[in-house]
């Protein structure tokens, strides 16, 4: 799977060459090793899942990708270049957007304003111009609002456009967070447990949105998820972690029949 050539998936999507590669990442917090010598790649246009039992180091891994944690050892390669240690906002500016396991929205602001914040890196008019809403700022807002409205339409949240986020149920908040991440027009989208705490119907909706985002915008998606059914249905390839180590990597079918994975996590092989 380390070949650089594009290939076609069964359902007709094109998966491109490697866009991000983790090389021998080790992350320590004091004496605790959260991640030990993990390497894997993410290819353009694919849905890549990271799974593992609680405390396996999945979220730490995602935080390494998003630049929130700097690993003590190993290298992160992004678009064929080694990435120097950088701040999360610099990572965001490179086109990597994320959602959070515990929703991190601006609760007092409307859905629309929350999603608009995702456009921040596309706005470059000065503070004064924005405060007075004159000249460049006005044109810029109109242009960005148009993009945001397309995302609102895409995720079917028109009816809550003007509702303060604090008043929304959990499932919708998750969707708003996805909208904000999408507003940044990311080339890689990181989703930290997008289905956590959702009921079956909300999970179905969210799965559909994730697939649609990948399909319509060609966005590369890396996600952490607990729900096995969802992971196996959605992803093209899966990395399995346990106690900070990688114990499996491959297509859902390969992972499903991997004995180490079964022992560590799945318990039994599902047909």
């Amino acid at each position: 799977m380390s070949t650089q050539e594009s290939y076609l998936t069964e359902d007709g999507r094109t998966i491109g060459p490697t866009v991000m590669e983790m090389k021998h990442i080790t992350l320590r917090f004091g004496g605790v090793k959260a991640i030990t010598d993990i390497s894997f790649d993410i290819r353009e246009g694919e849905i890549r899942a990271i799974i593992g039992p609680n405390g396996a180091g999945k979220s730490s891994m995602l935080n390494v990708i998003s630049g929130f944690y700097i690993p003590q050892e190993g290298e992160v390669w992004y678009k064929n270049k080694k990435r120097p240690p950088m701040k999360p906002y610099e990572v965001a500016q490179q086109g990597i957007a994320r959602t959070f396991q515990n929703i991190a929205l601006f609760e007092g602001m409307s859905v629309l304003d929350n999603v608009m914040t995702g456009r921040l890196r596309m706005m470059n008019s000065g503070l004064l111009a924005q405060a007075l809403w004159k000249g460049k700022a006005e044109a810029e807002e109109v242009k960005n609002r148009e993009q945001v409205e397309k995302i609102i339409d895409f995720l079917e949240i028109q009816h809550i456009r003007k509702t303060p986020v604090a008043r929304l149920p959990y499932g919708l908040k998750k969707r708003v967070e996805l909208a904000r991440a999408l507003a940044a027009e990311p080339s890689i989208l990181l989703l930290d447990e997008p289905m956590a705490g959702m009921n079956v119907e909300e999970k179905e909706d969210m799965s559909r949105f994730i697939l649609d985002v990948n399909d319509e915008f060609g966005t590369t998606i890396a996600l952490i998820e607990h729900d096995m059914g969802v992971v196996m249905d959605l992803s093209d390839r899966v990395v399995v972690m346990d106690y900070g180590r990688k114990i499996g990597d491959g297509t859902p079918n390969e992972v499903r029949s991997n004995q180490a994975v079964i022992d560590a996590y799945l318990g039994v092989a599902h047909d």
Binding site: R145, E146, E149, I152, F154, H159, E201, D215, E216
Partner: protein, 676 residues
């Protein structure tokens, strides 16, 4: 003539209309089809908005002249695709300009539009599409495309599908699948090859051509395809528009299912006849916001919508501060006293008028604005009986809400309430050009220019519904009030039966009385041929849920709340009150409810228990819950049952429950005849 209409207010419209009225009403000759009306509107009202749809947060607009271009492009595309005259074309989607254009484009090429409820399950669609032998379908999105692909194997004549929303459609095999915009593009490209053919087809349309075929919701048995001619639709639109002085300046919000005859008359018939603008909401969930932004002047809603709105207002007032709460209730009780009379133009004292004006400033005006009903000049409700309290609430606010009685076979209008003669318990006087007679058994018959042509491919049903002289049986029982000449409906004629005691059994009459309570969403009464009546109740989850929240009763689901003893107490109280009011009518004294239960699930169209227009299918409910009815007639206190349910995604499951059965006090049947 070039006039810009952008900034015209209602008043200027009225003036403009008056100046041009001669033109609109004098041109009835030649206007024998909807496409002909389209052409007139595109000439007469070229720059006036014909359609608006909210998309991406902004109201997108199409004038009559751009509408004509869009429709022509689509019609040319259909000709180019091979649509033949007389073909049936299914149209499946929510209210969007594209589907209204599709209907008129289909008519333009001499084919017949067949709008289908977009929430129908695949099997229901299969029945309709194979019954009319549709060769084409114009649908909204992936969801509908998937449904039709599922059933395509069973549809022998079916050929092509056209979809509007391209999302998720890229990977589909596009041999027989086309994008709406592409068909229009191909239509424009093939203008010179196809325009002569299109013009020839358009010129053949006349008053007897089929305008639309609408499938009835099928309260009993399979849906029937009601064929309506241009005469039916245009004559009805003309008469009803004149009855209510509808003009080109009206604004309507199209949100009711396109497959329903009412939407076809309001959003196509009347809109094309008068040239008013049809506004389409952004999504079904934003309907209330969009309603408020548009502020329609002409508005139709089934009683359920008014009920829901009123319930929401009352719930929100419960949470309001005590000052606001008091102001609201003070002025609402004043409105209740004089509001209706002021609206009807009756005599009201100066003091009361003054107080009403203050109330209008403080409460009624802002409330109407919040509800989106601030500009309503003519409002209608129909389909089911509306609770008198709900009806009076809206009228007391100064909203001219009226009732009409109609059905698909009549192209809607049978009776209608004229301004100033509005009451909650009648459905009005015969609509213009409608004759009505009442048969001996109480069944209502009518004859009008709107009477349907036939049930498609079903001569037996056509013959049993419409006689040689054009009289149509409504299946409803009713009578004319001698003093006012207004029609009152009792029940479905076939549902009216007799109890074992020889009393009249009119289930709907009692069910409606129950449903007027905000706590009760649905009720089904049984007892035909029995010695006493029993009932199923569905509680209203919004109203009862709010009550539960206020009284600190925790619940996880409809089922749990429905089984709560205190909820049962409340419902029992309602049932007993209804019993008293039913017993007051000597004819109906046998309809009192002796025992009842609260169903463990909400009656649902997906389970076949209701029609898509949310009317209870009595026979199916009776059959499905046989065990519960038997239990109600036995002397047990509780019954366990398992019911199969269908989820929204089509999967099936089952729910089990143990239901408590309650006795309700009845007023003893005193033999009044003997006493007299």
């Amino acid at each position: 003539m070039k006039i810009r209409f952008g900034g015209l207010g209602l008043w200027e419209w009225a003036v403009w209309e008056e100046e041009n009225l001669a033109k609109t009403s004098g041109t009835a000759e030649g206007l024998l089809s909807i496409p002909a009306l389209l052409h007139r509107n595109a000439t007469l009202y070229a720059d006036k908005d014909a359609y608006r749809e909210k998309a991406f947060g902004i109201w997108q607009r199409w004038t009559w002249s751009s509408t004509e271009k869009e429709i022509e492009a689509l019609a040319l595309g259909l000709v180019n695709l091979g649509v033949a005259e007389g073909d049936f074309i299914a149209i499946i989607g929510r209210n969007r300009p594209y589907f209204y254009w599709a209907m008129v484009a289909v008519q333009s090429v001499g084919a017949v539009p067949v709008p289908v409820y977009q929430d129908s399950a695949a099997e229901e669609m299969e029945y309709i599409l194979s019954h009319c032998g549709a060769r084409y379908a114009i649908v909204e999105d992936q969801e509908q495309v998937d449904k039709i692909i599922d059933i395509q194997g069973h549809l022998h004549q079916f050929e092509h599908m056209i979809y509007v929303d391209p999302r998720g459609m890229r990977k589909y095999d596009h041999h027989q699948l086309h994008r709406f915009a592409d068909i229009q593009k191909q239509g424009r490209a093939s203008y010179f090859e196809c325009i002569d053919d299109l013009n020839a087809r358009r010129s053949k349309l006349n008053y007897d051509s089929i305008c639309v075929m609408l499938y009835t919701s099928g309260t009993t048995g399979k849906p029937k395809g009601v064929v309506l001619s241009n005469r039916n639709v245009i004559e009805t639109a003309k008469n009803s528009a004149e009855f209510d002085n509808l003009g080109v300046g009206e604004e309507v919000l199209a949100y009711l299912p396109m497959a329903w005859v009412g939407d076809f008359i309001f959003s196509v018939g009347q809109a094309y006849w008068t040239g008013f603008c049809v506004n389409c909401p952004e999504s079904p969930d934003t309907m209330m916001t969009d309603l408020r932004e548009i502020g329609p002047t002409y508005y139709f809603a089934p009683p359920r919508v008014f009920e829901t709105q009123l319930t929401n207002v009352m719930i929100r007032m419960e949470d309001a501060g005590s000052f606001k709460y008091k102001v609201f209730h003070h002025f609402m009780s004043h409105a209740k006293k004089v509001g209706g009379d002021i609206l009807d133009g009756n005599e009201v004292s100066f003091g009361d008028r003054l107080k009403y004006a203050v109330g209008n400033l403080l409460v009624y005006g802002p409330l109407k604005d919040t509800l989106g009903l601030g500009r309503v000049r003519v409002g209608y409700t129909a389909g089911e009986a509306i609770g008198p309290e709900i009806f009076d609430f809206y009228r007391s606010l100064g909203i001219n809400l009226k009732q009409l009685y109609g059905q698909t076979e009549a192209t809607v209008f049978i009776t209608v309430q004229p301004d100033g003669e509005v009451r909650a318990d009648t459905v009005g006087v015969p609509a213009p050009d409608v004759d009505i007679k009442i048969a001996e058994n109480g069944e209502i018959f009518y004859r009008s220019p709107g009477v349907f042509v036939e049930y498609y491919n079903n001569p037996e049903s056509t013959a049993s519904t419409k006689d040689a002289d054009g009289w149509v049986a409504t299946g409803d029982a009713g009578f004319f009030e001698e003093t006012t000449g207004h029609l009152r409906i009792i029940d479905r004629a076939k549902d009216v039966g007799k109890t074992a005691g020889g009393h009249m059994f009119a289930p709907k009459y009692v069910e409606n009385k129950l449903k007027f309570y905000p706590d009760i969403l649905e009720a089904v009464l049984f007892g035909n041929g029995k010695d006493r009546c029993v009932a199923f109740i569905n509680i209203d989850l919004t109203a009862v849920g709010n009550w539960a929240e206020r009284t600190n009763i925790a619940y996880a689901s409809y089922q749990e709340l429905a089984g709560h003893p205190r909820v049962l107490d409340i419902i029992q109280e309602h049932v007993e009150t209804v019993n008293k009011s039913v017993a007051a009518d000597p004819m109906l004294v046998g309809c009192q409810i002796h025992r009842f239960l609260i169903l463990h699930k909400e009656l649902d169209a997906d389970d076949g228990e209701m029609t898509r227009t949310r009317k209870v299918r009595r026979a199916i409910v009776e059959d499905k819950f046989k065990d519960l009815i038997e239990a109600l007639y036995d002397d047990v206190d509780a019954v366990s049952t398992t019911t199969e349910v269908t989820y929204e995604d089509g999967r099936r499951g089952s729910i089990s429950a143990t239901l408590a059965l309650r006795n309700a006090a009845v007023v003893p049947n005193v033999e009044k005849v003997a006493a007299e």
